[in-house]
Subunit: 242 residues, 2 copies
DNA sequence: TGATGACTATAATATTTGTTATAATTCATT
DNA sequence: AATGAATTATAACAAATATTATAGTCATCA
């Protein structure tokens, strides 16, 4: 146990924490994840990992960095549909031939590997299913955010979601986390212009909701914010004590 | 065959057409659907079918009418996250305990039944998978619509989506379909106020994009609209000739 | 160390969308 | 046919967000 907690540099650490928060992983699961993580691929920041419409890739485990899933409109407008954070899965497989529904780009320097296969009924498989459910939840939250929240609410709501997810994979320190996104990217996720996002951030800082400087974001009262925004408590975490 | 095409009043007709457009259904599949459709439930317009957070219901086949999937914010703002149309499935099951992520309400007088189980590997199962993929596609389209399109684009884009889906289940006549939504509902799906939606509709009528009167919508040039909006051709339909 | 380019900040102005109010229309019911 | 409620339409005004422009900041690199 000591050896494991000392092994800060294991590439699969975030994935183990994240999936382990969803289901109680067995030694077999852990070994599978470690095996998968022994064969990694790298994508430098701003490179495209998958192009929209491309042949389906295998399900992928993101070991390090952030990935954005985006759509580009004919005139160049960009919408970031969602993010994958270190430790999370992306690129689902379906038995029918489907093409990628979005382009996937590295926002950060990214390290990934092919996700290990999960035996039906295994803990790992349960974690994968919760992961799929989480993706659906995030999409629904995103629709509500973009459709019915104003700029300040959108900013706070998305930062709350990111904080929750980063806490789940042990990538946050308290209510603070490393934010690799530029304001332009963040604006593209929130359906705002960079200028208006910046104005809104200033307002959020003044009102004491958050601080964001040199790539670190702190939410000063996540619970209060979540309440005022009507954010649902999600029940993904496993309920056993371990 | 004659008997089948004459049977306009079969309650499962839309479902058979819709699922049949996704995969070549066998006689067994057709029988299963007919069996399932022999035990129906009714919900009058404006009633709630499932409340957000409720225990998971079994996957459901919508035989008649339209269902909205919605979220309500603490101050009463409503966002319709998506629709289920006659012939389509909703209420997915996952092995882990999940609660309904949205409330589901009948927009119409609704008839539904429990979806028949699909043997793994069967055509029906393929249709279900394509159906799940379609839901994901619709959510992603919705995020892009709400995040990066203006009012006119949102109106046209959503009407195009609805037309495509209704054509798939044989519920459209050419480029015309029956629209059971009030403008208020439609506005709640598009992230607009009813007043602004109405203004936008007037503009769309004047510019010749569409007509919408007495519950019937016609898109005058769906292909041209789709091109200008950058709508993806989706590849869900089966490719065989049958 | 200074130059370069990306990112962030701010201001002035334009445009889109929301709000409130009211009238016209449609629809169901008597 | 008459009533009343819901829906649709329109206008005047307010607020939110976009656009354009410019300046400041920060990291990178020659």
């Amino acid at each position: 146990m000591l050896s494991r907690s000392y092994a800060i540099s294991q590439p699969e650490q975030a994935a183990v924490r994240h999936l382990g928060a969803l289901a109680r992983l067995t030694e077999t699961d852990l070994r599978k994840i470690a095996d998968a993580a022994s064969e990694t691929r790298y994508f430098p920041a701003r490179t495209e990992i998958v192009r929209e419409g491309a042949e389906p890739a295998k399900p992928t485990l993101l070991l390090r960095g952030w990935v954005a899933h985006q759509r580009i409109l004919p005139d160049g407008r960009r919408q970031i549909v969602g993010f994958t954070l270190a430790g999370e899965l992306f690129g689902r497989s379906l038995s029918c031939q489907d093409r990628a529904l979005t382009s996937q780009v590295a926002l950060d320097n990214v390290v990934l590997c092919t996700a290990p296969e999960a035996e039906p009924g295994s803990s790992l498989s349960l974690a994968y299913e919760k992961e799929r459910l989480a993706h659906r939840l995030q999409l629904i939250d995103n629709v509500t955010r973009l459709g019915r929240m104003d700029a300040r609410e959108r900013v706070c709501d998305l930062l709350l979601e990111l904080l929750e997810r980063l806490q789940r994979s042990g990538e946050a320190e308290g209510n603070t986390f490393a934010m690799p996104l530029t304001q332009e990217c963040f604006a593209d996720a929130l359906g705002l212009t960079p200028v208006h996002l910046n104005r809104t951030l200033q307002a959020c800082r003044k009102s004491g909701d958050l601080s964001w400087r040199s790539g670190r974001v702190t939410l000063h009262d996540p619970a209060g914010l979540a309440r005022s925004l009507g954010r649902r408590r999600n029940r993904l975490q496993r309920e056993d004590g371990g």
